[in-house]
Symmetry: C2
Subunit: 452 residues, 2 copies
């Protein structure tokens, strides 16, 4: 009998579940019937691509629409756009659509994503103030950018800095402001973050970090942002201060959320109601909590890459293949200006917060042999647990090879690699592509000598 | 008391031992007195850089002289160039220099390297026939290239193909010939090697593979090469058919060599004489045998990257830090034309030779999101042990990110990663730098479905 799978939400979580989950399972297309219900009008849009649309890397939003709705309909997948779900009825295995029908499911997948957390700043509702979350936001921001002269970005995380780059490249004088004194705090230690800050300052971006944002001012539309009493002119403001799980629908149905505000799941990605995990309801993506692999505490891992793994676990289980998820390491890569910035595991601050004593190793070298033209500077910081001497965190900044190195460090952490193993592990070498002693090894040697 | 360390040979092995071995050990500069005895006249030359000197990537051989002799003398290291060692006297802990003094040592390191294996082809001794092994060879070849019109490369390994690229770029019509039918056979399966062949053919290089090389012809200088009876015009010929360990000196002293012709060492890199490992004599580099990590059989791993690890083991042990080497995986990266070619572990042919049943996974995708400009095609082939389902080999070809991916695969192999672990391991994602589902994961998924 064909299993009816209903997915609520039409972001990366829904479409990755289909593309990288069900699609790879032999016979899944005959065994299951998928319905996707989403609020937005487009098909599978790469939300991660939107900041680069603003930067002009792509020709427009159409470029980051990976697949259109019709292509799913052609494959027999029922994608209902501009449709909102009103409620979930767990008892009756059905959902109710706003102003519409009731839909029965055999398996339900909650992929409702996240919503921007807008801090309570006076004037945040003014025209010209945006939060970049989906393709509709991107369209509005692009439109506003074409007329703007002065921009303020509130928040100094990945999205905020990517938007700041977009503003600055578009000729908008841009200031990045944040109440905390450092940027990219969840990814980088301050010494590493300063490399990014310097690069952005070089392109003209101003920073007001560790300052109080008093108000956004204007009448109808934004005119300025008051920071620590100082009035900064702004005709465009972007607020990127994080995303919280969108769990209203789930909570209304009695589904349990946890200390980080996300839906709680077991390792099979089943949701929980009244202390019991429900065999036919799954959740994934920005709306769920994960278990952090370094602290074993609940955490949010709102990354497209986390979804990939969760989607495979869910599609396997629905298809009858037992499959569970591991605690999350959440390796991160991002491009800010021409710097590739990568991070995995704990930062020094996070280690300190959890009482983990650390040994740090750091090195700055080149990606390729010193005598090779085109070599790029690269800085690596490694964080080891002082007791076990195993790798628990890594941060890398360069103009090339960072993503792949973060993947290697993720595996190192996952497989409990020790300082001394890293120092003596074989790595491939060709002067046109690498250095004889790689920067990661030099950083590990630095930690080794710090240990003595 | 200061320990006197004498190193015979002045290639990568000797200088890496100093630079990445002793230099990092606190106090080593005060505790030991190093003498390096070498035949050539320059300091530390990157032999791996020489093919790129021929290709014009660097301005000349001076560029790949990483450090000059004087810089070592300034540091108190006694580097004796253009000096040949006549014999080793293990009993008396001394060596004798040709026409010269006797030198006493506390620790001896044999780093005599390798010598090209020239196949017994008639005419191989003619003028215009070269083998690229050291900087002196490179100088002669560069000089000859400036006048040559037609070139033949005998051998289709890394060096041979890199020289072919240099010839072709210099406007020399080039043919690569080999008695075996495939190129890069120690690194790649034929399906992967064909990607490289096609790229080289596109730039004009001709191939005569699986053909018999009858003779090199000419009077005094080369005029042609006869291949399967056909006369191919050639005013320059390069022979790259491998390197054998240079062990004459060691053998004369009674030091044991093994089935692959290299010096046998224990895990601490001690050489063996009469069934006993000698505590104060070490060997490393192209002159030694290693233990292969996949077959546990003796093997040659004539790579600069292997030396790095061996040098650390030797410097640790001489400095009193117990340190041993692991069986070698020998990850390889090379740049041929604009293709980065990487390989680690066993190829299909090698697995078959050792009776290992395999599961293969393969995928061709892009390095970055489909919608990202500048993305490069990438092909990955993964080889898993059919019984344990763990990774035992990997081959990658692309124009970017190959070296770092090979390092990751090396760690996967080293840490016994399984197909299903690879499929569900977290990887970092940003559309401007990676794909949501990386090509390595897609290849692993391919193997997973081949397994069912």
């Amino acid at each position: 009998m064909v299993k009816k799978v209903v997915i609520i939400g039409g972001g990366d979580a829904a479409f990755q579940l289909v593309e990288f989950g069900f699609t790879r399972i032999e016979g899944a297309d005959k065994d299951i019937k998928i319905t996707i219900i989403k609020k937005e009008k487009r098909g599978w849009v790469s939300v991660c691509g939107l900041p680069f649309v603003l930067q002009g890397l792509y020709r427009g939003i159409d470029d980051v629409e990976v697949k259109e709705v019709q292509s799913y309909i052609d494959r027999g997948i029922d994608v209902r756009t501009e449709t909102t779900v009103e409620s979930i009825d767990i008892e009756n295995k059905s959902i109710k659509i706003v102003n519409g029908e009731e839909l029965r499911y055999d398996y339900l997948v909650i992929a409702t994503g996240g919503i921007p957390t807008i801090p309570p700043i006076k004037g945040a509702e003014l025209g010209g103030v945006y939060a970049l979350r989906n393709e509709d936001d991107a369209e509005k921001i692009m439109d506003a950018m074409s007329k703007a002269k002065n921009g303020v970005v509130i928040g100094a995380g990945i999205i905020g800095l990517q938007v700041a780059v977009a503003f600055q490249r578009a000729g908008i004088k841009t200031m990045v402001t944040k109440t905390r004194p450092v940027l990219l705090r969840s990814l980088l230690d301050p010494d590493m973050a300063s490399i990014v800050q310097q690069r952005l300052e070089k392109m003209g971006v101003k920073f007001a970090l560790g300052r109080k944002i008093n108000a956004i001012k204007g009448s109808g539309v934004v005119k300025s942002v008051t920071i620590d009493g100082e009035e900064i002119p702004a005709d465009i403001v972007e607020i990127s201060t994080g995303v919280k799980p969108d769990v209203d629908l789930a909570r209304k149905a009695g589904i349990v959320t946890g200390e980080k505000g996300g839906i709680v799941t077991d390792r099979f990605m089943h949701v929980n109601k009244g202390g019991r995990y429900i065999n036919n309801i799954y959740a994934l993506g920005d709306c769920v909590e994960v278990i952090d692999a370094m602290t074993y505490r609940p955490s949010l891992s709102q990354l497209a890459s986390t979804i990939l793994v969760q989607g495979k676990v869910i599609s396997d289980n629905i298809s009858g293949i037992s499959s569970s998820s591991e605690p999350c390491l959440s390796p991160i890569i991002t491009l800010i200006e021409d710097l590739q910035i990568g991070s995995v595991g704990v930062t020094s601050e996070r280690a300190s917060k959890y009482g983990i004593k650390i040994i740090v190793g750091k090195a700055s070298k080149f990606t390729r042999a010193r005598f090779t033209p085109g070599k790029k500077p690269i800085t690596v910081k490694l964080i080891f647990d002082a007791y076990s001497e195993r790798l628990i965190g890594g941060q890398i900044i360069s103009e090339e090879t960072v993503a792949e190195r973060i993947n290697e460090l993720s595996l190192s952490i996952r497989k409990n690699e020790l300082i001394k193993e890293l120092c003596k592990r074989e790595r491939c070498y060709d002067p046109s592509l690498t250095m004889v002693e790689d920067v990661i090894v030099t950083a590990a040697e630095d930690a080794l000598s710090a240990r003595h």
